[in-house]
Symmetry: C2
């Protein structure tokens, strides 16, 4: 099952990469006020049950992909 | 306007970060065959016209956010 996990900083956390990106975009003339940067993981998970895949992805976030202190994450099934 | 830009490696490009993530997940016991890693940018763009915002985001990808040689990108309007 193909899944997408998005990991982003929780609101209020300092995002220096986003700030630098916003500044660079403004320097190029783009009317951008803020940028937040996160990661996206496209996972090929070897299970066929949708519910089980979602549970596994949730566990992966808790154990490796996201930092529970500072990150929010969202999980999506892309295709069976 | 709040927008989301996702930048991912084009198929066929070597993704060492994804490979290491896949290995780490397998070491933790997760049945994962492949992982591809990309970036997600949440942008606050100071325009009110949806079409103009999409055009600007496209330009931002071409000029800064994505590498046209090795990256694919997708753009989405999250909220006005």
């Amino acid at each position: 099952m193909r899944m997408k996990v998005e990991v982003r900083l929780k609101p209020g956390h300092f995002d220096p990469e986003g700030d630098v990106t916003a500044k660079s975009l403004r320097d190029l003339g783009f009317p951008v006020s803020t940028v937040k940067v996160g990661k996206v993981y496209i996972l090929e998970v070897e299970v066929s049950d949708r519910k089980e895949a979602l549970k596994l992805a949730e566990d992966m976030c808790k154990k490796l992909l996201a930092n529970p202190v500072k990150d929010d994450y969202s999980i999506e099934v892309l295709s069976p």
